[in-house]
Symmetry: none
Subunit: 189 residues, 4 copies
């Protein structure tokens, strides 16, 4: 972690510039020159902080992905899965600015892969679900679908409420994976 104030300023500027540009164009088609121009830093300065474009994306996304995963994975084990799903959706809604960029921006596909990759290494060998469902596939499907549904949600003009999305997510993804029926009672409250 850098302590020099200038370094911190540069990193923040680069991160913000990347997120801003991802709302306009696909990640692959961004150039480092564009990012540095937007960030207001020198071109070479970029390389003093990151070896390449992907590294910057990682720096922006990896922590956030870990945070989100920390809320997603337990959903599959929690006693009350619907409540957990709700918490997940509320968290995303609370950070919608950043997650809009990551879930619907030009880097969605890359972030999605990283999301699943982290999930896989997190759950490794831990879970034992129903016998008809290979555990690895459960993780891939669960995290992938969750990512997609959240991405769809944030990509809409008129966004649904977090509650509605939680319901959908639970019915389409969570419940089929764990056979939970709790949602209806929770929703009935």
């Amino acid at each position: 972690m850098p302590t020099d104030a200038r370094q911190i300023r540069s990193r923040k500027a680069l991160n913000a510039a990347l997120l801003a540009l991802l709302e306009e164009r696909s990640f692959d088609h961004l150039t480092i020159r564009e990012i540095t121009a937007r960030a207001g830093t020198g071109y070479a300065t970029f390389f003093r902080h990151y070896p390449d474009k992907e590294a910057l994306l990682n720096d922006v996304a990896t922590d956030e992905i870990a945070n989100l995963l920390a809320m997603t994975v337990p959903v599959l084990y929690e006693a009350n899965s619907y409540e957990s799903t709700m918490a997940l959706c509320r968290y995303v809604a609370g950070h919608s600015r950043l997650w809009s960029a990551l879930l619907t921006g030009g880097a969605a596909a890359i972030v999605r892969e990283e999301f699943i990759r982290q999930a896989r290494s997190l759950v490794e060998d831990v879970r034992d679900g129903p016998e008809w469902l290979p555990s690895d596939l459960g993780v891939v499907h669960g995290t992938g679908s969750t990512f997609d549904i959240l991405g769809w949600w944030l990509g809409q003009e008129n966004r649904l409420d977090a509650e509605d999305v939680a319901t959908i997510l639970h019915r389409l993804v969570i419940a089929p994976l764990i056979g939970d029926k709790v949602e209806k009672r929770a929703a009935a409250q």
Copy 2:
């Protein structure tokens, strides 16, 4: 459609070369020079057939995607959705060489997007599912998840039988979308 024997030969060579290289490396990191070298054609010849790399990928994938979608979408409407799911899995197993490249190769993300894009424009305004589920999200989730599960399947060392995959696919994706319970009876036969 070209009729000249030379054009047909070149196109086939380029298509095959792309599929071969996709088994080794990510689509973005392929160069056109590599593709033409592998195909045994001249570099400039590539551009006589396709404006860019993406166009070649489309030429390879679009028709196959349409075929697969023609089997996927009806699954959601068929009386016996489990049988339809089985048919889908058997079709993929029957063309596993090509679909391995498209589903698990370096272009999976792009093919996935095209798969969903085609599905969306196919189903446009047609379907009316349960009221709690926006129809567009149903399509995105259904096709996306199907794509992922098939991709996971073909990416495994020891592949499951088509029947097992159909069961999983039906339980995780199809049934939750349409509330069908038919699978169990069918599987019981």
Copy 3:
């Protein structure tokens, strides 16, 4: 020499096309495709007649250059050099269409070099002028300057009469080379 009517037609068309295009653009910047398009022949047909662009230019120019040289070289030996100069100018005036293309068109530099090359090999070791003037330089200067003056003449909007040009040519080039004073008497007639 081809006898087939089709071959003759093609060659003529190509020759004419080259001359026409040379009035518009430099020889180097002409493409064979342009020439064949202008000639109304197929692209490959060009190569059935000439191995490359230069060969076509040679076919157009070489004979004409030889003709002109046959009138130029003797000028330096003739008893009455001014009369010979006049004859030369009249000949050029009589074929001004072709010579305009060759002397002022986009191939002038190449034709000039060929003109001097032919002259050099024609006069080889023959001439013995004044001792202060190396014979080879005499040829180079004589033919080169003649070419330039004729080129300047045909490139003018309002062309001088052949007589005036002959006078200039004789005073500037011929007389200094051979010390002839005959012109004045001839002009006085």
Copy 4:
């Protein structure tokens, strides 16, 4: 004018490489890749300095041409034209390395045209020679012939002395243009 040491180094390397290659091959048949390879610079660097091959040639030649012209044109007006001609020849002999490349190398034709072009725009409307000689033709012939004779001189194995060439140049070109007889007296000294 660039001040950055790297830019200056690159430009010098490119200029030298061009002159070196011109001693071996014709300008048209040089490729930019060859020039940069010889210069030891990257291919793209060429275009950071010059838009094309011609621009590099100009950069090499234009100043030198201007210098030489500054000595050539006055020859026609100076009181003692023979002395001026001598000075011209001595100047060329003093820079024979460079002028050999420009006058006899593969770019001679192009340099020649530029030489005449500059002379024409320099003398524009100034000179009034004898009435039988159009002033523009006088310039074209004078500069063109001077160029040729100097080129012939530097192209010889055993070069004549500058004095001899000055004599030839004066007798063949200068004197006929201006009617000067001074040379003989000067040479007689």
